[in-house]
Amino acid sequence: MPDRDSRDLVDLADIPSLAPTSTAAPVDLVSAEGGTPLLGRKARQGKLGVIGWLSLGWLVLISLAAILAPILPIPDPDEQTASLARQPPMTDGHILGGDGLGRDLFSRIIWGARASLTLAVCAILIGIVVGGLLGLVAGYFRGRTDGVLTAVFDVLLSFPQLILALTLVTVFASGEGVSGSRRMIFLILALGVVSVPVLARITRGSTLSWAQREFVQAARSIGARNRLIMFSEVLPNVLPAMFSVALLGVAVVIVAEGGLSVLGVGVQLPTPSWGNIIAEGRSDLTDSPHIVLWPTFVIFLTVFALNYLGDVVRAHFDVRESAL
């Protein structure tokens, strides 16, 4: 019996928590959660509890901060004041002190939110749109189309994610005289490319199971065109699964950018990102740990909030699904 028969309903490979039968697993991006318990009973039922609201609140807060950064009453993130260099928090009214080059850390973190969040959201959007579309097509049409697309996903997933992103950014956007915006664009593209196969597989799995349902057969039987069915019938049901993974994905990309910054190919300085503030702060770790610790804390809160909400969303739709 073929183990990757495209006539199978749901490919085990598409459930992140179960070991796949193919040569690649989306374990990195979706940290093997599926089915494991969440914090608190409310979360398990798919409802926002106290933690859920706090998480949401935090995300709204930093998003607003990021969007409104230019008009907020904070110091210029690029302005260097020698006397401020490496000073601890609450020096001269600088809430979080200064970084290695005498720039206001608080301000840089807020502007860093702009870069990190923009990068993460855009990259995942690419993943959702491209990956989601490809996954939808693969899962809906199956057969040959599915075979080819799955092979493509497999090949992409055969690279360790960080290495692939690293390679793409290095090759295309790290030479002499590369501009900050070029770097940013390629960061988005690279991280987007890396997230496409993951989202594609989730979507494909979800589509495979939904496309078998009766209401789709019913739509087909009245002669509705495939495209219409795909988008109006199947897609709405597939979106929740995608959304949950997307939230988790944003968290992963934020962290990935940090890793790339440490390796020298993150967001181009002097534009701050959470990752590159930490990377820059490495050299001052012994004397001024706050430069590393504060952005770390901010990333921690953000990733925590995204993970938690991602789990709640998934539980919410799982609960609804099992009640059907």
Binding site: V155, V171, E176, V255, L263, L301
Partner: protein, 318 residues
């Protein structure tokens, strides 16, 4: 496993290897502008032309690929180019590879050693305070970026408390205790995130297994709960965990690169970092090739392993 299944998997492997190596082989030609300028801008025109010829950049794509693949398979990983001359990449890779492998293996082992008992215990006491506390901690740990954790550990444990060194590497054959001391912090940094993932995975599998009839039957034999847990429940539950541990090598590789850089360990990750900074694209290409191909092969073997272990279980559980 049947010969047919094996053949299909091998075919799959070959296709993937082909695509991966093709992509890597063409990396240098994908550099914006003139690749040769990027690689050795300081060289004279003659040298550049020679280099272009050597790298096969004048040839059509299929030839380039075969050319590169031939060299790669023979161990010719290209050179580092600098003003003072060129040195083969392979020399440095030979010394760096064991370091990286040690780091990843240590981290994986440490993660499993911690995660397995925790997973078993939290499954057994599901719903208790211990369980909820562990889960919350795991959830929290997953939210700390690995590079930040490495830096924080390096700072607090290494510099402030001075318990463990934060830089450098010593070969185990030279001085085993010192080797272990230097590898300690990097290993812990890498293992922490894995612990959280593995623990939760094992826990959920164990909880499902503990509800099975044969566990009740084992209990009815009068054997102690500890024995039931470890000798009866663990084995069937551990299959997914072991497979995920195998496939998680990808995350481990990415993490290892960062950890090596932070702790100045002379592994493949550091080489990668140096190649990027020094714009040594040929070296970069070879290093990426090694990592990618290695990862594909590991996945392949884990796949086979799972299929070998699985049918019996699948059959028995159906």
């Amino acid at each position: 496993m049947s010969l047919g299944m094996l053949a299909r998997r091998v075919a799959h492997l070959l296709v993937v290897l082909f695509c991966v190596t093709l992509f890597v082989a063409l990396l240098t030609s994908m550099l914006p502008g003139d690749p040769v300028d990027a690689i050795s801008g300081f060289a004279s025109q003659e040298q550049k032309d020679q280099l272009r010829e050597d790298l096969g950049l004048n040839d059509p794509v299929p030839v380039q690929y075969v050319h590169w693949l031939g060299k790669f398979v023979r161990g010719d990983l290209g050179n580092y180019y600098s003003v003072t001359g060129s040195r083969p990449v392979m020399d440095r890779v030979k010394d760096a590879l064991p370091v990286s492998l040690q780091l990843m293996i240590y981290a994986q082992v440490l993660a499993l050693v911690i995660a397995i008992p925790l997973g078993v215990m939290t499954a057994y006491r599901a719903g208790s305070r211990f369980d909820r506390g562990s889960n919350a901690t795991a959830f929290g740990l997953l939210a700390i970026p690995n590079f930040a954790l490495a830096l924080i550990l390096a700072y607090y444990v290494g510099v402030r408390a001075g318990w463990l060194p934060v830089q450098g590497y010593v070969k185990p054959s030279q001085d085993l205790p010192e080797h272990l001391r230097r590898m300690a912090l990097p290993t812990i940094s890498l293992a922490v995130a894995q612990v959280a993932v593995y623990m939760r995975l094992l826990r959920s599998d164990m909880i499902a297994t503990l509800q099975e009839d044969f566990i009740t039957m084992a209990k009815a034999k009068g054997i102690s709960p500890r024995r039931v847990l470890w000798r009866h429940a663990l084995r069937p539950s551990s299959l997914t965990l072991l497979t995920v541990a195998g496939l998680n090598v990808g995350a481990l590789i990415g993490g290892a690169v960062i950890v090596e850089v932070i702790f100045s360990l002379p592994g493949i990750g550091t080489l990668l970092f140096q190649a990027i900074n020094a714009r040594q694209y040929v070296a970069l290409q070879s290093l990426v090739a090694i990592v990618a191909v290695g990862y594909v092969l590991v996945n392949f073997f884990v796949d086979i392993l799972y299929a070998v272990l699985d049918p019996r279980i699948r059959h028995a559980r159906s």
